[in-house]
């Protein structure tokens, strides 16, 4: 059953890739925040977006997820450019989890309600699966916002994954977590990827990129600076900015 569903999801995911971004730009109040950004991503593996603060990583993720509107350029998911249609197959988890002022179970149920899954049995199964995945079965009826930071992020991950998205965007999902919680979230990320969800992840943690990502997209100044296989890019960066960043030097956007 799981294999069948994974296979089905794999084929859905492949229908959305390759992702081609061409000359993408975002201008706010006359300031170019994303500047002629172009890259191509394939369906397989986990892609890490890396780069100093202000490089445009979060904005790129939000543009891909249609949370903000681009100024110009194209985002094409296997030649499909209607972002609204694609958004249904995507999910996103933010650095600080945004949970509704409701119980854990109601947070999960809300997602199913939005995705129009009215069948009670299916709802119950998906909720049960999500609670198990997040390890929150004992907290189902507790207010979500009273959970610890790690538990809140696990709930946010489980909520994002419960409708089995083809693409999952993660904006520094472990930035404020301790090593144990980070490990749990990383396991959830790997599990989701194994089951057919393409992951695009922002991280500043080079170790995390090595543990999770097959590929890195290194951004500076709203542009792609380098793109390559994780270990190749970390061990043998070609650009000055990437060399500084991966050697552990403090790189800021002002130093470009």
């Amino acid at each position: 059953m799981l294999n069948q569903s994974s296979n089905q999801k794999m084929s859905q995911k492949h229908e959305l890739f390759p992702l081609k971004v061409e000359n993408l730009a975002l201008e706010v109040n006359g300031k170019k925040l994303i500047n002629n950004l172009s890259f191509k991503l394939e369906a397989n593996g986990i892609t890490a977006l890396m780069g100093p603060n202000g490089a445009g990583k979060s904005l790129t993720l939000r543009l891909l997820h249609n949370l903000i509107e681009k100024t110009s350029g194209t985002i094409s998911w296997n030649n499909q450019t209607n972002q609204k249609l694609i958004q249904n197959a995507q999910a996103m988890v933010f650095q600080k989890p945004v949970l509704l002022r409701r119980s854990v179970i109601e947070n999960l149920r809300y997602n199913l309600h939005v995705k129009k899954i009215p069948n009670k049995t299916e709802q119950a199964n998906l909720i049960e699966e999500a609670l198990t995945r997040a390890g929150l079965k004992g907290h189902a009826n507790n207010p979500a916002r009273l959970l610890s930071g790690g538990e809140q992020q696990k709930l946010a991950m489980a909520r994002a994954l419960m409708t089995k998205p083809s693409i999952l965007f993660l904006d520094e999902p472990t930035a404020s977590l301790d090593p144990n919680s980070t490990l749990v979230i990383e396991d959830l990320i790997k599990e989701a990827n194994d089951q057919g969800t393409k992951i695009i992840l922002i991280t500043h943690d080079i170790g995390q990129a090595k543990r999770l990502a097959e590929e890195i997209l290194f951004l500076t100044g709203g542009k792609v600076c380098e793109q390559g296989k994780t270990l190749d890019l970390i061990n043998n960066p070609q650009t000055k900015q990437a060399k500084q960043y991966f050697s552990g030097e403090i790189v800021t956007e002002n130093q470009k």
């Binding site: 939000r62 995507q90 999910a91």
Partner: protein, 235 residues
């Protein structure tokens, strides 16, 4: 001083003995104000939630207008409603002037902007927090407004109670459109004004005490609701 203490003693007697006139005035006050607040909630909560979610051209003007309407002078509202409902006015044919319905209309006009503006303010903060997550889940703007109304329910109860408190204390508009007619349109605040001018301090004080107790209850409820919501992380 003796007069005041005697009036105070008489007032307490009126309250303890549940004086018929006193009870009638209190019940009419509650009826008029509760219906007015209900109408204001239906309109004000909807307007507030929609303004919190939808960003459109002219929204700033709407917000400024709403804030300005919050400070509407009650006597002016009373005058306008009076003009509309008077025999020569456009709605004179309805024969509503000097009835509790006219008072409800005036009160609703006064309270709706307050509830709408406070709702917008409360829900906009929540909207800023929820927006990206709800958009990510694929929630429509209208569904966002509904979600905010539900998740903000504890704060909104305090908004509604603030509106109710304002209505309870109002005197100018209801005096003009209700006419303060005994057994028909006499409510607590208008009765206090009339009885004081007549020198009947006992009834005025008795009603004043009840009004203050109600105000305490309303504010106590606001505090308790906020505390419960914070404890349960629903605030």
């Amino acid at each position: 001083m003796t007069d005041i203490s005697e009036a105070f003693a008489n007032a307490l007697h009126l309250i303890i003995s549940a004086d018929k006139d006193l009870v009638e005035i209190i019940l009419l006050s509650l009826k008029v104000n509760l219906i007015a607040v209900f109408i204001s909630c239906v309109i004000g909560l909807s307007i507030g939630a929609l303004l919190a979610v939808y960003k459109f051209k002219g929204r700033t003007i709407c917000l400024i207008t709403l804030s300005a309407l919050m400070g509407l002078p009650p006597v002016v509202v009373g005058l306008i409603v009076y003009i509309f409902l008077s025999n020569s006015g456009p709605l004179g044919i309805l024969g509503l002037l000097y009835t509790p319905t006219a008072m409800i209309i005036a009160q609703a006009i006064l309270i709706t902007p307050i509830i709408a503006a406070l709702t917008r303010q409360t829900l906009e903060v929540m909207h800023n927090e929820y927006y990206e997550q709800l958009k990510s889940l694929g929630v429509s703007k209208l569904a966002m407004a509904k979600t905010l109304l539900w998740d903000g329910r504890y704060q909104l109860i305090t908004v509604v109670l603030a509106g109710f408190g304002r209505a309870l204390a109002e005197v100018g508009a209801v005096m003009i459109v209700g006419g303060n007619i005994n057994h028909l349109t006499r409510i607590m605040t208008t009765a206090i004004a009339l009885e004081t001018s007549k020198g009947n301090l006992s009834l005025a004080l008795g009603l004043g005490i009840i009004l203050i107790i109600m105000s305490f209850i309303v504010n106590g409820l606001v505090y308790a609701i906020n505390l419960t919501a914070e404890r349960q992380a629903y605030a």
